[in-house]
């Protein structure tokens, strides 16, 4: 067993909390981008992943991803229900083993949540839930095992500090498949589908940025110089992503946008994720800036190619993730992290090729598996709401709720309530009248 270090543990406790906070942050980021009639259903897609992801991870996911390796492909079920995952540090670690489990759990929650941006505003809630469970078990857990759990990509030596392949490319490919399989929203490519609340999206982006310090710097698993450099390059790349995107906008249309700044920041965050513990500040300037510009150019592709990736998961997380994974193969240096490797710039052709292999394998596996899962669900229970439900909005249709009631009159009446008891004596007589 390892020896617990309180400083490392303190950092990992808060990092885990920070990564948890990212998922509701994503809920707001996505929620602000849809039309107001779908704000809750979109938020729910992320928020309830905190429920779904947790139970799947605790029961089987952690064991599949981090259990004893089988053929380089997957763990086993020996840690089903967290059996044997203890409060003491594992060998070679300085933090409680169960805390490492929790940190990884938060990744398993946000990754599928990212996908939901692709099918916002039209997916059935039950089908969504089934898809998420299946995807976590069949796609996320194996890929996490490959890259971080001792699987073949880890053995190969490709680098992914905090999840460029596992999280972003993986989710974005599933998103692309989902957008294609589920089909376009009614009116896509013709009607304006304005974001209904951009301040909410900005808030979401801010929470993502804030939480991402836990995501990336927490991936050092200790409070040390490596965490510090990961923190710094994360921040710089994010800042440069925002600048890159709005500069590209300024050049193309003359108007930098607030949504562009937020989107560019996320692009920068995504791109630096695989590189965070392997590159220095100057490299992070380049990574963020390039990602910001390329993602800006990429988000328009859906209109050209005709798939409706509603909230640009492919354009931002897919392109950003690939850019980041490739540039990790360019800018990585053992000067920053001895456990890493040198990238192209430092003569490491090897690493560059390994990065391409890791990217390719993730894309291929995620594409095929996501396609099979979605087609199966479509066949069994359908994926989409009815046209009328789509027109009325998913909040009312699926959840019987309204996001906002800002107006001056409500005019509804109480019809019925659910309660533990239906026949209880009323002590209403004892309550005061409406005004004293």
């Amino acid at each position: 067993m390892g020896t617990l270090d309180t400083g490392d543990t303190a950092w990992m406790l808060i990092s885990t909390a920070l990564v948890m906070f990212m998922t509701p942050g994503l809920a707001l980021f996505y929620g602000g981008l849809v039309r107001s009639k779908n704000v809750l259903s979109t938020i729910m897609h992320s928020f309830i992943m905190l429920g779904i992801g947790t139970i799947v991870w605790v029961l089987v996911g952690y064991s599949l991803a981090f259990g004893p390796d089988k053929f380089g492909l997957i763990g086993d079920l020996s840690m089903f229900g967290l059996k044997g995952v203890g409060m003491a540090p594992a060998e070679g670690s300085t933090i409680p083993e169960i805390l490492f489990m929790a940190f990884q759990m938060m990744f398993a929650i946000i990754t599928p949540a990212l996908i939901t941006g692709a099918f916002a505003e039209r997916m059935k809630f039950s089908s969504y839930a089934v898809f998420m469970v299946a995807w976590l078990v069949l796609v996320y857990s194996p890929v996490a095992h490959w890259v971080w759990g001792g699987g073949w990509i880890m053995q190969l030596g490709a680098l992914d500090f905090a999840g460029g392949t596992v999280v972003h490319i993986n989710a974005a490919v599933a998103a692309l498949v989902a957008a294609i399989v589920i089909g376009k929203r009614k009116g896509f490519g013709k009607e304006a589908m304005h974001p209904h609340n951009l301040p909410m999206t900005i808030l979401g982006a801010a929470i993502l940025w804030f939480g991402w310090f836990g995501f990336n710097a927490g991936s050092a698993l200790a409070a040390n110089g490596l965490a510090a450099i990961a923190f710094v390059v994360t921040h710089i790349a994010t800042a440069m992503g925002a600048l890159g995107w709005i500069l590209a906008e300024k050049l193309k249309t003359g108007k930098p946008t607030t949504l562009g700044a937020a989107s560019g920041a996320v692009a920068g965050l995504v791109a630096i994720t695989p590189a965070a513990g392997f590159v220095g500040p100057i490299a992070s300037i380049a990574i963020g800036f390039i990602a910001g510009i390329l993602c800006y150019l990429a988000v328009g592709l859906k209109f050209k190619l005709g798939y409706d990736d509603s909230l640009d998961v492919v354009g931002v997380h897919g392109v950003g993730g690939i850019v980041g994974a490739i540039l990790t193969g360019v800018f990585a240096t053992v000067a920053i992290n001895e456990a890493g490797a040198n990238g192209l710039l430092y003569g490491g052709m090897d690493l560059f090729v390994k990065q391409l292999i890791a990217i390719g394998a993730t894309i291929g596996y995620s594409f095929i598996m996501s396609f099979i899962i979605l087609k199966a669900i479509k066949a069994v229970m359908g994926l989409r709401v009815s046209e009328e439900e789509e027109i009325n909005g998913l909040d009312l249709s699926l959840h019987s709720e309204n996001g906002y009631a800002l107006g001056g009159f409500s005019s509804g009446t109480l019809e019925h309530t659910v309660a533990a008891t239906q026949t209880a004596p009323s002590f209403a007589v004892k309550t005061a009248p409406a005004s004293e």
């Binding site: 709720e401 005019s411 509804g412 109480l414 019809e415 659910v418 309660a419």
Partner: protein
């Protein structure tokens, strides 16, 4: 001059506006309203309490036109706004005494 007022389903606004542009209508005014009618409302549920909401979101269009245009506008509107389901809405026609364009002071049909 007449005022044509239409209460339609909100998602039909684009189609209606385009159809009206198509027959030469150059101006109209739109607002958000809540309708109560044959089309039933919906239920909302918050923490187990079910509320019946009778009002349905509708969009109101107001178009002032010369008398000669009325029937064409009504026909175009009817066609563009129709889905065939309850709640498609109504068109109401009202008399108008006069119209003035603020910018120029023009009056009557010229002001439209």
């Amino acid at each position: 001059m007449k005022k044509i007022e239409a209460i339609i389903k909100p998602f039909k606004l684009d189609d209606v506006k385009n159809a009206l542009s198509g027959i030469g209508i150059q101006g109209l005014t739109v607002s958000e309203v809540q309708g109560f009618g044959r089309q039933k409302g919906h239920t909302e549920v918050y923490r187990g309490a079910e509320y019946k909401v009778d009002f349905v979101p509708k969009t109101k269009l107001e178009i002032l036109v010369d008398d000669g245009m009325v029937s064409q506008v009504v026909d175009t509107l009817t066609e563009a706004a129709k889905t065939g389901k309850i709640g498609d809405g109504k068109i109401f026609i009202y008399p108008v005494d006069d119209a003035i364009r603020i910018r120029t002071g023009e009056r009557g049909v010229d002001a439209l």
